[in-house]
C-alpha cells in the first residue's frame, strides 16, 4: 500500500512538454566551442591592448622620458654596471663651471654623432633677452644636500672613472664602464634656465627651471628627449648656483653598457 502510493506519486511526476521539446532540440543547438577557442579572442585582444599600452609608455619624439636616476644610493646601485674584465674605462673630462655670462660648452669628448637628423625643437631661443620657457619638461632632483664629487663620479662629472678610495666598500666594487658623453649638444644652466644647444644645427632649446631653481648642493640626473635624441642630463651644483656642472649622455649608450 505504501509502495503503491509512492509509486503513484512518482509516476505522476514528469517533465513538462516544453522541457521535453527543449531536450530533444538540444542536439540541434550549436555546440559550444572548446574553452581554448572561446578564450582565444579575448586573450588576443588583451595581448594587443597590453602591447599598445607598452608602446604608449615608451618615449615618443614629442615626449620626455622619465627621470632615470638620482644621486641617491639606490639609483647609484641601479646604474652601476656589471663587472667587465675587458671593459676599457674612458674617463671624461672634468666638468666645467658656467660663469653665467654666456653659454659654454661644458664637456667635449670624441664620441661621434651618429643619430639621424635632429628634430627642430618647439621653442628656439633667439639668444637675446629672456629665453622663452619650453613646454618640455626636465625633472630636477634634490636628493641630498651637500653632495661631494665622489657621490656622483659615476655620472661622469667628477673627472674620475673610479670611485674614490674613501667610498665605503669601494674595493669590493667592480670598475664601471663609463659611457661617452655627448659632444654635439651642449647644456648650460643660466639664470634658472637650462639651455641646450645643438652644435650641428645651432638650434637652442631652453627649459625653464625658475619655478624650482637649482640650489647649491643639488645633484641628480634626468632623462630628456631633445633634438630627436634621448639624453640623460647629469648635473651637480657646487657651492653656488653659478658652479653647475652638467654632463650629457646618450641613453642608448647607457643602455648598451653591460
Amino acid at each position: 500500500m505504501a509502495n503503491e502510493r509512492l509509486n503513484a506519486y512518482y509516476e505522476a511526476q514528469r517533465p513538462s512538454e516544453a522541457c521535453m521539446v527543449r531536450l530533444c532540440n538540444l542536439e540541434q543547438r550549436p555546440r559550444p566551442k572548446p574553452l581554448i577557442l572561446r578564450l582565444a579572442l579575448p586573450m588576443a585582444a588583451a595581448c594587443l591592448l597590453i602591447l599598445v599600452l607598452v608602446t604608449q609608455i615608451r618615449p615618443t619624439p614629442e615626449g620626455v622620458t622619465a627621470p632615470l636616476a638620482t644621486s641617491t644610493p639606490t639609483a647609484r646601485e641601479t646604474l652601476k654596471p656589471e663587472p667587465t674584465p675587458s671593459a676599457a674605462v674612458t674617463p671624461t673630462q672634468s666638468p666645467q663651471v658656467v660663469d653665467g655670462s654666456a653659454p659654454q660648452i661644458p664637456v667635449e669628448t670624441t664620441a661621434p654623432y651618429t643619430e639621424g637628423p635632429a628634430i627642430p625643437p618647439e621653442n628656439e631661443g633667439s639668444g637675446s633677452g629672456r629665453p622663452k620657457p619650453s613646454p618640455e619638461y626636465m625633472g630636477s632632483d634634490k636628493p641630498k644636500p651637500e653632495p661631494s664629487p665622489s657621490e656622483w663620479w659615476w655620472l661622469g662629472g667628477a673627472g674620475s672613472s673610479e670611485p674614490p678610495s674613501s667610498d665605503p666598500g669601494a674595493e669590493d666594487l667592480p670598475t664601471p664602464q663609463m659611457p661617452e658623453e655627448v659632444t654635439d649638444i651642449t647644456c648650460v644652466y643660466e639664470n634658472g634656465f637650462l639651455i641646450f644647444t645643438d652644435l650641428n644645427t645651432g638650434e637652442t632649446v631652453t627649459i625653464d627651471l625658475t619655478d624650482e631653481p637649482l640650489e647649491p648642493g643639488d645633484s641628480g640626473a634626468a632623462g630628456i628627449h631633445i633634438f630627436g635624441r634621448d639624453l640623460v642630463v647629469a648635473l651637480s651644483v657646487g657651492e653656488t648656483t653659478e658652479d653647475v656642472t652638467i654632463c650629457l649622455f646618450d641613453l642608448s649608450e647607457l643602455e648598451a653598457i653591460p
Binding site: R5, L6, N7, Y9, Y10, C19, L26, E27, R31
Partner: protein
C-alpha cells in the same frame, strides 16, 4: 552501445527528472538540471559498453548537478516565482508531498531511488557518493519520519 540522443532523452528524462525533483522539490529547478545533464552528455558523449553504465552515469551526473545547485548561494537567496506568489505546484498527493518535503534532500533521493527505481543500497551509495551504511541509515530515518507524518503505514516494508 549506440543509442540515438532522442532515444536516450525519451528513455531517461522522466526518471532523471524525478530524481532531480526529489532532491530539489522544484519543477523548474528539476527541469533546469535535466537540461544541464543532457547538455553535459552531448558535450562529453561518453561511450559505454552497456546501458546500465549509461543509466548510472546519468543518475550520478544528475545527483551531482542537484547537489551543486543546492549548494549554490544564488539559489539559497532566491525564491521561485511560484513560491513567491503562493501558488503551490499541482501534485497528485499533496499529503505525501508535504511529508516528503519534511525530509532532507538526500533522504528524499534515497527514498525515490530505493522505492521507485528499486535500486540497491550499493547502487544508491554509488550514485549519491555515500557509504552503503549511510544509505541504509538515511532510509531508516526517512521511513520513520514518513511513518510519523502519514499515520504509520509508510514503513515501506
Amino acid at each position: 552501445m549506440d543509442l540515438e540522443f532522442q532515444t536516450i532523452v525519451e528513455r531517461y528524462s522522466a526518471s532523471l527528472y524525478r530524481l532531480a525533483y526529489s532532491f530539489l522539490g522544484s519543477r523548474q529547478d528539476a527541469e533546469d538540471v535535466l537540461q544541464e545533464v543532457f547538455f553535459k552528455f552531448l558535450r562529453k558523449r561518453p561511450d559505454f559498453a552497456e546501458e546500465y553504465q549509461l543509466r548510472a552515469w546519468l543518475r550520478t551526473v544528475t545527483a551531482n548537478q542537484c547537489r551543486d545547485l543546492l549548494r549554490s548561494p544564488w539559489r539559497r537567496r532566491t525564491l521561485p516565482l511560484e513560491e513567491a506568489a503562493s501558488q503551490p505546484e499541482p501534485t497528485p498527493d499533496p499529503e505525501l508531498e508535504a511529508a516528503l518535503n519534511q525530509l532532507k534532500p538526500k533522504d528524499r533521493a534515497v527514498v525515490y531511488l530505493f522505492y521507485y527505481e528499486q535500486c540497491s543500497s550499493a547502487e544508491i551509495a554509488e550514485t549519491l557518493h555515500m557509504t552503503d551504511a549511510a544509505v541504509r541509515s538515511r532510509l531508516t530515518r526517512a521511513r520513520q519520519t514518513l511513518k510519523t507524518l502519514l499515520g504509520g503505514d509508510e514503513d515501506g516494508e
